[in-house]
């Protein structure tokens, strides 16, 4: 028995089942679509994150600006009150002196 020729005959190349390459290409196309979609989704996700961060930063800035304005208004009010007190003080001293 010549085992080597038996092996060569038994192990000859065979064609895969009908439609094999179409099935492979369908999987390739699905993978290709998924790969092409990925950058779009990544860009959209990155955009959302950036918008959220920028929005948060802008809101924080606006809050700080309003706090600053309120503090400034309070200081001005305090100065005005103090100023009016200073203006009326000599008059009151004078009145006390005349009594």
């Amino acid at each position: 028995m010549d085992i080597e020729s038996d092996l060569e005959r038994a192990l000859r190349r065979e064609s895969p089942p009908e439609g094999f390459s179409s099935r492979v290409m369908a999987r390739v196309a699905a993978e290709s679509r998924a790969t092409r979609r990925a950058p779009w989704w990544r860009a959209a996700a990155a955009g959302l994150v950036l918008t959220a961060v920028a929005g948060g930063w802008a809101a924080h800035e606006e809050m700080q600006r309003r706090e600053g304005e309120r503090a400034r208004d309070e200081v001005l009010l305090a100065l005005r009150i103090a100023g009016s007190k200073v203006r009326t003080a000599p008059k009151q001293v004078h009145e006390i002196g005349t009594h």
């Binding site: 085992i3 038996d6 005959r9 038994a10 192990l11 000859r12 065979e14 895969p16 099935r23 492979v24």
Partner: protein, 178 residues
């Protein structure tokens, strides 16, 4: 070995596939499908499992086509990846050599095409240890010598020769007994 087949625009299918051309990739699949499918089929003796492995190999090729340098590198790469996937698959699942599908297949259309001896030989190969199976397949299906096989299976050439020798001894004994 497959010859380079340039097209009208001067680029061969591999170059075009590397550039993202799906038609060129399909040409490569059709050119090499019999080799890849047959390595897996002779390893498992199961057409369904062989198709599953062969599809996975070509999908991996699609992902790695940019790293493949030439037509000869592609053939080497396909043989190597198919052999590795077959061995990994059998180690993961520890399948029986012959599945229910094969029993159906033996009594199906292929019965008339294959001689009884061919089927017996393939059945006995599928019972060999995994490295022996791959080495026998690469030796007799792909007509490679041990120095080429050792690069594909990443084993020393003397180990390949020894696996081949033991596989032939085992097959001779089993075929003689039957």
């Amino acid at each position: 070995m497959t010859a380079i087949a340039p097209t009208a625009n001067g680029l061969d299918a591999l170059e075009r596939a590397r550039a993202g051309d799906h038609d060129a990739f399909a040409e490569l699949v059709e050119e090499h499908e019999a080799m890849v499918f047959s390595i897996a089929f002779h390893f498992f003796n199961d057409r369904g499992r062989a198709e599953e492995i062969a599809q996975d190999v070509f999908l991996q090729m699609y992902r790695s086509v940019g790293t493949i340098e030439s037509r000869s590198h592609l053939v080497f790469w396909l043989r190597q990846v198919t052999s590795r996937r077959c061995i990994d698959h059998i180690r993961r699942t520890r399948l029986r050599a012959v599945s229910i599908d094969d029993i159906h297949e033996l009594t199906g259309a292929n019965e008339f095409r294959d001689s009884l001896l061919d089927r017996k030989v393939r059945h006995l190969i599928a019972e060999l240890p995994e490295h022996q199976r791959v080495i026998v397949t690469l030796r007799y299906q792909e007509d490679l010598d041990p120095s080429e096989i050792c690069r594909i299976v990443n084993l020393p050439v003397n180990t390949v020769k020894s696996h081949l020798h033991r596989a032939l001894q085992s097959l001779r004994k089993k075929l003689g007994d039957q």
